[in-house]
């Protein structure tokens, strides 16, 4: 990204220029290994920064110039960032087969463990012990979700109209019981129109280029 100064991590400074596009040789097995690991250790937040550290700083499979556009892309498209990044990085390293391997490795181990937990729940979920544990886990999950509202809101709210957009979206789900695709079809044109590119004099403060969160 030309012109975007970034604080380099100490480990990546020596002998590493983020703009050199070096095609590293990475085997499918290495891709599978990394994404298995990411899949089993990813629990939501902070995962994009972690993936960047793994593939850019430590393994040097991609340069920042290659990674950051991918992150920008997956943030714009539907789906979890970690899932989109696995497809993007896999494709970058090994083409379509790399994407399939990365996505599969990311999802298969959690799929197996999640199914096991599911059967455990269906089998023992109605005992008093399970109810008590789940009540606590769910209460914490509510707090976690609420913190994500604050987090997302902090990024989203750049003016009063953003609050209006948040409330319209909420109301369409909560009170009109619309499904999410319809809500997006209704609110997105309004939101994109409001945030359309303006002449420089009216320009809102620069929000920064695809920040790693």
């Amino acid at each position: 990204m030309p012109g975007k100064a970034r604080h380099p991590d100490p480990e990546e400074v020596a002998g590493f220029s983020p703009s050199t596009s070096l095609r590293v040789k990475v085997s499918l097995l290495e891709i599978a290994g990394l994404f298995c690991f990411i899949g089993l250790t990813s629990f939501g937040g902070g995962i994009t920064a972690y993936i960047r550290r793994m593939v850019v700083t430590q393994k040097r499979w991609l340069t920042d110039d290659e990674f950051m556009p991918g992150l920008g892309l997956v943030q714009l498209l539907p789906g979890a960032n970690v899932v989109g990044l696995s497809v993007y990085i896999g494709n970058h390293l090994k083409g379509p087969i790399g994407s399939v391997v990365a996505l599969g490795s990311l999802l298969v181990p959690p799929f197996v463990s999640t199914c096991a937990l599911g059967f455990l729940y269906f089998h023992a979920g109605h005992t008093a012990d399970a109810h008590a544990v789940l009540a606590g886990v769910t209460a914490a999950a509510c707090g976690l979700m609420a913190s994500m509202v604050f987090e997302a809101g902090g990024e989203a709210i750049k003016g009063a109209f953003d609050v209006v957009l948040i409330l319209i979206t909420f109301a369409l789900v909560r009170f009109a019981h619309l499904h999410v695709p319809y809500v997006i079809l209704i609110v997105a044109p309004l939101a994109i129109w409001w945030h359309r590119p303006r002449p420089p004099k009216l320009k809102a403060p620069d929000t920064g280029d695809s920040t790693v969160s």
Partner: protein
């Protein structure tokens, strides 16, 4: 059985392509469809499954795996796993195909000013959807003063400390087991 599998595939592939801002934004639709429209589970069961998926390893949207599992459970464990597979593929494959192909022409418009417009437009919409998801989960699950306090403490911990969310949910489960059993 085939009908349920088709419903899972149709529901989750349409939600896959709507999950702007991550999988959490489609939770309200997932809840509405699995509880209200298809009657695969009760609201409480949905929230339980959601909590399990949050505390388990994997991308947060592995709740789709559990919804697929539960929807097909009446047909036996083997079909339940098939249901889980169908739901998981339907949730993760369409958005991944989109990323794959969009990557090819991304170079042409990644410098476009509209990119920031779209990003800035997505953010408040996904915030509103996460707010709606939080509302549904909280309304279904928090009925007592102790759980309400735990939720508020969890929120404060997430906002003001760097606690690992999985560790926090595990501790909450333990505390709840000890005191609320």
């Amino acid at each position: 059985m085939n009908k349920t599998l088709l419903q899972l595939a149709g529901l989750f592939s349409s939600l896959s392509l709507s999950a702007f801002g991550g999988g959490k934004v489609v939770l309200p639709s997932m809840h509405q469809a699995s509880v209200g429209e298809y009657h695969w589970m009760t609201s409480q069961e949905f929230v339980d499954l959601f909590s399990i998926s949050m505390a388990a390893p994997g991308p947060s949207m592995m709740v789709v795996t559990l919804v697929g599992l539960k929807a097909c459970l009446p047909y036996g464990p083997a079909i339940a796993i098939l249901g889980a597979l169908v739901a998981t593929l339907a949730m993760f494959v369409p958005s991944s195909i989109l990323v794959y192909f969009a990557g090819n022409w991304w170079d042409h418009w990644k410098e476009s000013p509209w990119r920031h417009s779209v990003m800035n437009a997505i953010l408040p919409i996904s915030t509103g959807l996460i707010l709606a998801a939080t509302w549904i989960i909280t309304k279904t699950s928090i009925h007592s003063v102790p759980t309400a306090i735990m939720g508020i403490v969890a929120l404060a911990l997430m906002l003001f400390t760097k606690i690992n969310p999985v560790l926090m949910m595990g501790m909450a489960g333990l505390i709840s087991w000890v005191f609320l059993r």
